[in-house]
Symmetry: C2
Subunit: 352 residues, 2 copies
């Protein structure tokens, strides 16, 4: 696996811890901060620590694991710790964790003293194939996902496959949804490869392929003016379902579980609106249905889901905007969907 | 006065309200939001409203006037109002007010949905000659000025001289400090011109000249890697005095009053460290001393002031960094100053 070049920064796949140590030692940084949660502090931080024992200028900022931490209050907490630790503009923030760590860490770093450098060491499958690449940072406000954020590129990304070994199966499934999406929107061959692979523990090569697809898209359109919107397939409905579940369920859906539902619904929308064939729709439902548990979406919740979608930041002039599939491996952006169509796709999911 | 070109955006000085209306009508915006405080809502908003009566898609967000509003809680308030009003990515935020409005408005706009467009309509002398130009946004946290922020350029700046007529004398003086600074660091001729002008109500031409100087600097070095640091003259000590006063005084110093003190102290440091002549030091003290009231800085407060300076975001590796004058109209950046030197300059101010 080659090192990938993204928007001004490298994405390492081989000897990643050694590359991180090299980056730290060769950079002109005054101080180093590691943002972790209790999981990565336990499972991943010791691995890094064991390689950089020389460094004494190394402070740890730990936040609670989980989407509930991805808000402004936690940002303020991180900013205050950076202030208290005396972080100056030549400091480096190392985001060691999943998507919450990279999204929140990227946002706090990009706004602390008008921006300090940061790198990502993604430790979940989801963050390896999605959050760590592309320069989107963000936190939630009022239960709206990523509504506050910046476009800010990390200085490097280090994708260490062995970190995935400590993940529960449900976390692997969460990341897998984005990998399936990469196949569905851009690469039918990759979709077929995934379909026929052992998806309980995706290989390093499969992870690489996903990052390669995402990286190609974000290089072409860093600020999501056009083609990058294709990555939103499954996310209009998926984000709404995720938010709804976060607000209502004791044990909420993971991001990937919600996106899996969103992809089935939006595949149905694709079938209605842009010609995705019945056979491919069925294939998508079967592959996703075999991997992810069924979630109950009552008819009575449709209006709540719709009102969440109305606050989606991808909308324009109040209209709800979806990326849809014309076939497996091909997509079309900027499809305005009506409330009726969106509800029909939710009903379709419920009948499967 | 010509329209100035800044980093990808124009700065208008003539027919500014008409230019703003043209900008609004010709831009491809879905919605318009005006950020104001109670002063500009009263004195300036009606002027704008009277010219754009056609626009119905126009919502007002009002915050309390004053530096106390420039914090994350007020940002959250503005973000929530944007959400509630249904602001999408094609929305425009019009920052109508002084430095607090442009700094906080710029920050909230640059982070809402990862960035929406904004323009500045600065209504104070200080914001006309300083905050509205250069793309720095920011809010305070834990009494540290502008510690959280972004570099984000407005789409246009509209400098309407008549807005200054409603300002109290003390607000004029606050902006004047930055104008004097522009002369001191870059343009002895402009300094002499200011010295000999009626500074109770600076002319549009004097304002233009200041903006021209600042604009030249920020175009050359938008992210403050080098020459832009020259604009920090007076601000290392000045910011500390301003923060100290905000924390301790019932009627705190304005920004300019604090910077005036900072400029005297840092002129003294310039005299000690980089060869500013005694005659020029005296001249600076006289001009500033005649304009600004004396502020009592007790010896016992020096350690507090020093500890505030230690948190200044301009520092590097814990060292306090000043821009100093080699002569009037010439400066040198990146001068490390010791605690002893800084305290000596504070004592010097007290003896004047």
């Amino acid at each position: 696996m080659n090192t990938l070049n993204s928007i001004g920064y490298p994405i390492y796949f081989n000897n990643t811890i050694a590359e991180l140590v090299k980056f730290i030692e060769q950079g002109n940084y005054s101080r180093f901060f590691v943002l972790t949660d209790e999981n990565t502090a336990k499972h991943c931080l010791p691995v890094i620590r064991s390689h950089i024992d020389k460094l004494d200028n190394f402070d740890i900022i730990e936040i609670n694991a989980g989407e509930e931490s991805k808000n402004i209050d936690f940002c303020v907490g991180v900013w205050k710790m950076l202030i208290d630790f005396g972080a100056d503009r030549q400091s480096l923030l190392i985001n060691l964790g999943g998507g919450v760590i990279s999204d929140l860490g990227g946002f706090t770093a990009s706004t602390y003293k008008r921006g300090i450098d940061f790198v990502h060491v993604p430790t979940t499958l989801l963050s390896q194939v999605d959050a760590s690449v592309g320069g989107k940072t963000g936190v939630d406000l009022d239960n709206i996902k990523n509504i506050i954020g910046t476009f800010a590129q990390p200085k490097a990304v280090f994708i260490e496959h062995s970190f995935l070994q400590t993940l529960p199966a449900r976390q692997i499934l969460s990341g897998l949804a984005e990998m399936l999406k990469h196949g569905l929107i851009f690469d039918a061959g990759y979709w077929n490869l995934l379909k026929d692979s052992d998806l309980k523990s995706p290989s390093a090569e499969l992870v690489y392929k996903s990052v390669e697809i995402k990286n190609k898209v974000v290089i072409e359109d860093p600020h999501e003016k056009g083609i990058r919107k294709s990555l939103n397939f499954g996310h209009t409905i998926g984000h709404a379902v995720e938010t709804y579940s976060l607000m209502n369920d004791k044990n909420p859906l993971t991001h990937g579980e919600a996106i899996a539902i969103g992809m089935i619904c939006e595949a149905k929308l694709s079938n209605i609106k842009v010609g995705l064939s019945n056979a491919e729709l069925t294939q998508i439902n079967e592959v996703i249905g075999n991997l992810y548990p069924k979630y109950n979406i009552a008819e009575s919740s449709h209006n709540v889901l719709y009102s969440i979608m109305q606050k989606d930041k991808k909308n324009q002039s109040g209209k709800i905007n979806c990326t849809l599939l014309t076939s497996i491996g091909q997509c079309r952006i900027d499809n305005i969907c009506t409330e009726d169509e969106l509800c029909e796709s939710l009903r379709y999911y419920s009948t499967l």
